[in-house]
Amino acid sequence: MNCLSRKRKNEQNDVKGTSLLPKKRCSLALSLREPDRVPIANYGLEFAAIDAGFKIGEVAVSSQKIVQSTIQFLTKYEFDQQLNLSIDPFNIEAEGMGSKVKFPENSMPVITDYAVKDYKDINSLQVPDPQKAARMPVILGAHELFLENYGDKYSVAGLFTSPFSLAIALRGYTNLIKDMKTKPDYVHKLLEVATETVLEYGKAFKDIELPAATILEQFASPPNLSTKQYDEFVLPYVSRVIQGLKPMNITLGGVWGYSFLQNSWKDLLRKIIASGSASTMFLDPDGEYIDIKEFKMISKFHGRATFSGISANLIRDGPIKLLRQRISKHCKNCAPGGGYAIFALYLPPGTPPENVSAFASFVKEFGTYPLST
């Protein structure tokens, strides 16, 4: 066999082989190709933390324990990627900017006092130093540690909050909604500081050579915002972050509520694609109400891979038969042609470990290429 044909043969093995490394599997799916099977990812680290014998509160503040929980989870349950190397990806930047956070021993940290009580507080907000502020160094440290020790085998991506969701973590949802009606200029001023903060934190992930990240936009989802508000208060800032962090591939994640928009869900998907998001995501229960085959088709047409998130309650409570059906449906509609990964939307503490194993085995059953017809 000459060199060229050996190379071709190897490339073929990379794609169709049955023992790809998780990193290669994810990378092929993200580049819109078919790996050996659909990659399996997880979002949420509490289950992994408890399964590794830790308390949630202690993992929230330790790079070492984050990495330990993650690697034990990935190895034990044969998942390909952990989407967040943190217990609480929602409040870290806000904590760094002055919102007060409580750390319960057995639960996720929560904000107890917002940094912006009055709009004059915006003037004193500082863009935090990611190497020093609050838990930012812990999270960056976890990514560095994971990359150093397991980066050859597993993909690692950053995860941080979006400007709009950060603004809510600084001001509170109801307050911000009221301000958007009566003091929109102040809201834009707050979003400016939030955007600078997200960019600074994102650059710190870029500096440790992470190729990709997800920005969480959990609050900027219908019905939490109207389409008009989304266009004014979300899109311009998200686009700035995505452009500002290039060449990192940034995915706009955590968007839910496509089904609330009924027939115009495609408009939101196209806006997300136009913002420069590297891939697209839909989450249960939206997957039950929108045409997921079309969602994948639109995404692929625009050169984006699709992630679909399976309901946390379904994985925890079952019935297992329904979980199998759900995964079969997602794989059948989204896996053909590659460019697709599936993930556990969240694994709640208390999820039976056998359900987590079942989740992975169903993806292997229905998502192995070539797909059975």
Binding site: T174, K178, M180, P223, N224, Q229, P349
Partner: protein, 219 residues
């Protein structure tokens, strides 16, 4: 000259538009024109919020519209509440709402608060991060007919169980309807905890409470 009835229609519009900054003044105008605080509340504010609730349920409006209307009603109530004469013959079932300990998510509870008020319930909102003992104490103090406890995070589900057990220990479990809600709550969790039910959204919750109260009264 503004026709008297138009003042109440204007108030409805103010609630629908979520103009929380001008509602106080509009309520005062209606009081000056001779309307009672109860008339203003029922025909103006509550009617406005009913319309918004229906439109939100029909997906014609978004959550900010509902929240702003709720905030507008809250502002109006600051003026009206002390003026409302309690009519002993009128019956408004009372419900206690709160987010469990270690959980500060208030969005779902906020929606429930607005929708239950629009449905004619008397709502006591305990806020967020509420210790179990506070739910029990307030339920006893107010003779609550319904307790609605919410949790957003799976890791705080245990506090729903704690409330359920405390209701039993305090001998008031049979006196109250205990509903639970939030993203990690499912039918299975309801059964495990021994709650009376859960709903996927606020409108379903109102229907469920009305059914449960009806069954309770019938028995």
């Amino acid at each position: 000259m503004v026709i008297k009835e138009e003042l109440l229609e204007d108030l409805q519009k103010i609630v629908i538009e979520g103009d929380y900054e001008i509602v106080h003044e509009a309520c005062q105008k209606a009081l000056d024109a001779g309307f009672s605080a109860s008339e203003i509340l029922n025909t103006g504010l509550i009617e406005g919020i009913r319309i918004v609730g229906k439109k939100y349920e029909g997906k014609e409006l978004f959550l900010p519209d509902l929240i702003l209307s709720g905030e507008t009603m809250k502002e109006g109530l600051k003026l009206l509440e002390p003026l409302i004469e309690i009519d002993e013959s009128s019956y408004a079932p009372n419900i206690i709402l709160g987010t469990v300990k270690d959980d500060i998510h208030d969005l779902g509870k906020l929606i429930l608060n607005i929708v239950f008020k629009a449905a004619g319930f008397s709502v006591i909102d305990l806020g967020v991060d509420v210790p179990t003992a506070t739910f029990i104490q307030r339920a006893k103090e107010t003779n609550a007919e319904v307790i609605g406890a919410s949790c957003f995070m799976a890791s705080t589900l245990k506090y729903l169980n704690e409330i359920s057990q405390s209701l039993v220990e305090n001998g008031i479990r049979d006196d109250v309807i205990f509903l639970i809600g939030g993203p990690p709550v499912s039918k299975k969790i309801v059964e495990t905890i021994g709650a009376d039910g859960y709903a996927r959204d606020a409108f379903e919750a109102v229907k469920l409470v009305e059914q449960l109260l009806h069954s309770k009264q019938a028995s």
